[in-house]
């Protein structure tokens, strides 16, 4: 994951290659019908078309709501389980098999099970998102608790810090980098899973748009929906997390300057 991020920060010097790529894509698209292989210009036109219709925003909002609900559930339960497994050895031995099994069930399976169990409802996509994302968060936080400085915990108990003080001032700050990376992993997974869950399950949402246009073999419309949504999610990721990270880690000299 980190290597991907590191590369993402190097984009600006590659802006030229990016422009060349766009041009090549546009040229290539001239040889195909736009419904099969749209160029960037066609794609932009389709996006304008989509977002001039106010009802499109409802579709986006619906998907966003599902993403954030599933994401929130996964973060809360995942953090709780990660902490439990990190702090209690027995819990770790007991639950790690469960986590492995959860990690192995493909998202499509949850999407379908959700539909079979809850019908066409909000519960199915949210269940799918949280069940897929949960184990990743739990594992990440669990690794974080393994990296906690024992010396600081000892210091806390010498000074008789009670449980709540230990949590707030000693444990959680040390877990912050892990909580933070969990948030990012969770968000980037959530929206991709949401599309799968919506495509095969619940009514409405971007996923439904994707599969509908897929069934009509309209690559242009499918890409217009997919790419525009991708841009939204990347923006949320960059804006929300970059800015927050700077504040949360102000105590680190190398980041503060």
């Amino acid at each position: 994951m980190t290597s991907v991020r590191r590369i993402a920060t190097r984009i600006p010097p590659g802006l030229a290659t990016f422009a060349v790529g766009l041009l090549a894509w546009e040229l290539l698209s001239l040889f195909f019908p736009p419904v099969i292989f749209p160029g960037p210009w066609t794609l932009l036109e389709r996006m304008v078309e989509i977002y001039s219709d106010p009802s499109s925003y409802l579709v986006v909002a619906q998907t966003l709501q599902r993403i954030f609900e599933g994401f929130a559930i996964a973060m809360l339960t995942g953090t709780a389980f990660g902490l439990l497994m990190g702090l209690k050895r027995d819990a770790e031995l007991f639950f790690d098999t469960w986590i492995m099994v959860l990690l192995t069930v493909p998202s499509v399976c949850w999407a379908f099970l959700g539909v079979l169990w809850f019908g066409i409802s909000e519960a199915a996509p949210i269940l799918t998102i949280s069940l897929i994302v949960f184990p990743f968060v739990a594992i990440n936080i669990w690794e974080g608790t393994k990296a906690v400085d024992k010396g600081l915990m000892e210091m806390g108990s010498v000074y008789r810090a009670n449980r709540s003080l230990m949590f707030r001032k000693v444990l959680i700050p040390q877990l912050m980098p892990y909580i933070f990376s969990s948030l990012r992993i969770a968000l980037s997974l959530s929206w991709k899973i949401a599309l799968v869950a919506e495509a095969f399950g619940a009514g409405g949402g971007i996923g439904q748009e994707l599969i509908n246009w897929f069934q009509d073999t309209r690559v242009d419309m499918m890409l217009a929906w997919g790419v525009s949504f991708m841009i939204v999610m990347v923006l949320i990721d960059v804006l929300a997390f970059r800015l927050w990270a700077r504040r949360a880690f102000a105590w680190r000299p190398q980041l503060a300057t």
Binding site: G151, L152, E154, M155, G156, S157, V158, Y159, R160, A161, N162, L165, K169, V170, P173, M176, W251, R252, P253
Partner: protein
């Protein structure tokens, strides 16, 4: 009116127990993981530290000194014997307060220096209105006045250790445990810190149990020294140092004493083979 009713009796420490720290026949074993064999970390150790005194345990690395401090601090269990820490006389009865300065500063890097001291104050349930006064006073005492809002990672190693000392003093400890607090610092900083520590102690007068492997540090700082050896980990000698304070590290009497003690260590270490 019968005035002489049985009054609620405050249990006063026995004369013998006026020691702030009393350790008797303490033994601690570690079982090696995966085997049944046990390894004796501390073998039948007794010691006492009288209130207001500076007592040092000197010994080679791995002789169980730090374990002993941890047991006294109540963060490590032991197998047999007794450990008693008493609150300062003349203060209202309370759970004894223990300050601890570790080898490394063990500061919470995400809190300011003031925040680090307040952490200890909050842990000890010191009323919030006293915090600011205590933080200012203690930071001033260790020579860090005005550094309240700074983060530990922006301070030098010596300054970080000063914050750790301020944190320990801020809770007005009944006893102060120090585990080789200057061993991670460079020689010059360590020397300055020892001087300053003497100055601080002259004002704060806490009871100190100090651990080090450095004999010159021990003779310079202490009222009394316990000498410890390994295999088995035992105290083999107790030396009182009745030299007046303030002392100078180059005082010939200290140097003589140090040389004698080094001799003694060598003979004991060779004796155990």
């Amino acid at each position: 009116m019968a005035r002489v009713r049985s009054q609620p009796e405050v249990i006063r420490p026995e004369p013998m127990a006026c020691a702030a720290i009393a350790v008797r026949d303490l033994t601690k074993k570690f079982s090696k993981p995966g085997t049944d064999s046990q390894f004796i970390v501390i073998d039948d150790v007794s010691l006492s530290v009288e209130e207001g005194r500076f007592v040092t345990i000197v010994g080679p690395s791995g002789c169980g000194k730090s374990t002993l401090l941890n047991i006294i601090a109540g963060i490590e269990p032991y197998d047999s014997g007794s450990v008693q820490v008493s609150p300062r006389q003349g203060t209202p009865m309370h759970e004894p307060r223990i300050g601890y300065v570790f080898q490394s500063p063990r500061l919470l890097n995400w809190l300011t220096t003031a925040g680090n001291i307040e952490f200890a104050l909050e842990a000890q349930n010191v009323p919030r209105e006293q915090w600011q006064e205590r933080v200012t006073r203690q930071l001033g005492m260790v020579g860090l006045a005005g550094q309240e809002r700074n983060y530990p990672l922006k301070l030098s190693g010596g300054m970080q250790q000063r914050v750790a000392i301020a944190r320990a003093l801020a809770i007005e400890p009944d006893i102060l445990l120090m585990d080789e607090p200057f061993s991670h610092l460079d020689a010059i900083t360590a020397r300055k810190m020892r001087f300053d520590l003497m100055g601080i102690l002259a004002k704060a007068k806490p009871t100190i149990l100090f651990v080090t492997h450095d004999l010159s540090e021990a003779v310079f700082l202490s009222d009394r020294i316990y000498m410890m050896k390994t295999n088995p980990a035992r105290i083999f000698k107790e030396v009182a140092i009745d030299l007046p304070r303030p002392r100078k590290p180059e005082d010939p009497r200290l140097l003589d004493l140090e040389r004698d003690l080094v001799q003694e260590f060598f003979s004991v270490l060779e004796g155990t083979g």
